[in-house]
Symmetry: C2
Subunit: 426 residues, 2 copies
């Protein structure tokens, strides 16, 4: 990372108010380029309502921080043609990392959100100590990141995704029952395992981060209200309202799997009875689909393979498998009805195993959801399948780390030798 000495120089002579306005405008221009694409300074000025001299100065500072570069000359505009400004594709990268029950995973993206490198490694994390898992994850991060950094990219941040209840503010896992982690200071452990890097390391729930990624791949005008339902043995969710993650008072919002669903139902891993995940989780599906001796219920077999087997049987119209899917589908429709009654989302995204069995679940939900919702036409809610698979949480993690930069571009230090755009004007 570069030093911050020249940052003081740029800010010299400005009042606190002016610094805040400048920071706001830098963010405005950078976010505008991200959402609307490459364009000339003149066009940015017209779009965001700032004057051209201000925009030129803002673009110069963004370039000096390595956030934007000059691209092709823009054609067809009014007046003297200007060169387009683009979000930098190589100078800065963000990392999403994930620990889940069966694997660890790392994704590196540039500031445009494009994947630069990705690796996922199968690992029986629940059988290992947290520090060992995090060491393996750190090793994977280095393997993926080292070549990227050697080619000159700086890391703006890493966000770690975990299944369970996490405290982003302290970097601690409160309770991740599927990993067996409780009160673990995961961010500190990972930072040490990574050799104490200078970039910030953040922590969030994997369903929350997956919801952010689902939001990102949809059109921002039609998906500011979104719920992602992650289906595995546990059922979780990420809720986005007004384009932002719903966190609640202490960051625990979105525990969809623990909606009260069946009075005196089956015992849940949380200790209570009849939670929604006891009837729609993968365990419920597999119990209904096959006897205990069936390989699809053998926990030593990779869950992805077992799901492929279930899917193959459903395609062959095997009666017990179809009945199991129908039974889970019943409870899925009714629980989704509750979610839509409470949140009135624009999009409900089925992730995890619900997406794998999407050809059965999706048409049913699309046909029956409106019947479960008090508002007319299901309140306008669409149901879609996630297309991100295992990459959703790491993609959301990288996204969260880049958002810091978009919200305040001055968190990225000035690069000493990157003055070529300073003072250029369109």
């Amino acid at each position: 990372m570069t030093t911050q000495s020249s940052r003081v120089r740029l800010g010299a002579g400005l009042t606190a108010d002016q610094v805040a306005v400048r920071r706001h405008n830098l963010s405005l221009v950078l976010r505008h380029l991200r959402v609307h694409g490459d364009r000339s300074r003149a066009r940015i000025a017209a779009d965001v309502g700032l004057n051209k001299a201000t925009v030129s100065s803002l673009v110069a500072e963004l370039a000096a921080r390595g956030l934007v570069v000059e691209g092709e000359t823009e054609r067809g505009g009014v007046g003297r043609p200007g060169r387009v400004v683009e979000i930098a594709a190589t100078t800065l990268v963000a990392v999403g990392a994930e620990v889940n029950t069966d694997y660890v995973s790392v994704l590196v993206t540039n500031l445009r959100g494009e994947a630069v490198a990705e690796r996922r490694v199968a690992l029986d994390t629940a059988a290992m100590a947290a520090t060992d898992v995090l060491s393996r994850l750190a090793a994977l991060c280095r393997t993926v990141l080292d070549p990227v950094v050697r080619e000159g990219s700086d890391v703006v941040g890493l966000t770690l995704a975990l299944p369970g209840i996490v405290a982003p503010a302290t970097g601690t896992v409160d309770d991740a029952p599927n990993l067996g982690w409780r009160g673990t200071p995961v961010v500190d452990v990972l930072r040490t395992a990574l050799g104490d890097p200078v970039y910030p390391i953040d922590l969030d729930n994997e369903a929350n981060l997956s919801a952010l990624a689902e939001l990102e791949v949809r059109h921002p005008e039609t998906a500011r209200e979104l719920i992602l339902i992650t289906g595995a043995v546990g059922v979780g969710g990420g809720v986005v309202t007004s384009g932002r993650l719903l966190r609640g008072g202490r960051g625990f919002a979105g525990e969809l799997g623990h909606m009260h669903f069946e009075p005196d139902g089956r015992r849940c891993r949380c200790g209570r009875r009849g939670c929604w995940e006891t009837v729609v989780g993968l365990g419920a599906l597999l119990r209904a689909a096959a006897p205990a001796s069936d390989p699809v219920r053998d926990p030593s077999v990779d869950v992805v393979q077992r799901l492929q087997q279930v899917r193959a049987r459903a395609e062959q119209r095997q009666a017990r498998t179809l009945r199991a899917i129908e039974q889970v589908g019943d409870a899925l429709v009714r629980g989704c009805g509750t979610l839509v009654n409470l949140f009135n989302p624009e999009v409900l995204v089925l992730g995890g195993y619900f997406a794998e069995l999407g050809p059965w679940f999706l048409p049913r939900l699309q046909a029956e959801l409106a019947g479960e919702v008090f508002a007319p036409h299901a309140g306008g809610c669409r149901v879609e399948l996630s297309t991100l698979g295992f990459s959703a949480a790491v993609r959301g993690g990288a996204l969260r780390s880049t958002r810091r930069v978009y919200d305040d571009p001055t968190v990225v230090p000035l690069r000493p030798a990157a003055d070529e755009m300073r003072g250029a004007s369109s």
Copy 2:
């Protein structure tokens, strides 16, 4: 209302950007006074980080619009004592109006949120045509407002609260089953009945507006995440996250009463079976508490009287009544558990009949809620009783109309003869 001719003069010579900054700063100063109370220009300048000359100019404009007035001289400050600036108590008022199953109601507040006048009239609205109900409401508005306007106050806006699904953008009720209204253009009908006043008339769901009012009476630092549960025959709710109402994609969020709760349960007025309100609504309580012939189940008796009777019996420890309360309490605890798992609120407020029977419901929820929630210690959620009674929705309505002014003080025109503070400085 005053003319807007002099407004052009104040804005003359400013760019679009400068106008936006000015509007933002006017709002900043006005909201600061509302949250933190009366104070001198010098203190405002220090608090919000603007310079004193700017604050003096902003205060002069707010005064010219009738939004603030000069008060007492501030003592104990540093330097020359300045006169304090206060939110005006008499020049501008806002109106909350409500139609509900048993009554119509009107509340007038000043910009400080203080009640200036209030009236509630019992009316069997479900037995009347919508236009007749709205005529009665308009007559009540005039009765309450006329003296206030005669004394020189201008109305900044009126917000109408209704039980049911409403479309604030078009001013139409989509479906209010308890009133029997469907597709009614209530704002247009009310505006005509009021003689086409110049102030804006808005529309919102009564539970949403009640939640806003509950938020307002609590400390803003400890209640930015709040759920209000309104208990009547129907059960509704208003959800506040990050200090704002959760509306969802089309404004239908918060239909708590229609959470899926009992498989194959009792038929709900929405047509489905086993909705939460079929087991925690007032109907469920009364059915469990008394035989059909009992006066507490006689719909021709005022519901407030019937509830007083139920409460008296509970105080006398009448066995069937206590069993009914216990039974509803069971379902109330479990449903609240679902809400807390999904939203992780800081405060859950019991309104309507839940508040009336608060001495029985509250201790139970406080003791048992944590056992229903996945996050530790119920995610930090407190349970409280509403203290606003029948005034909650109209108070929220008036608040919503004043918020427009706090968000953009320039919606209030300059008052021609109110120049006395112009140019004054602290």
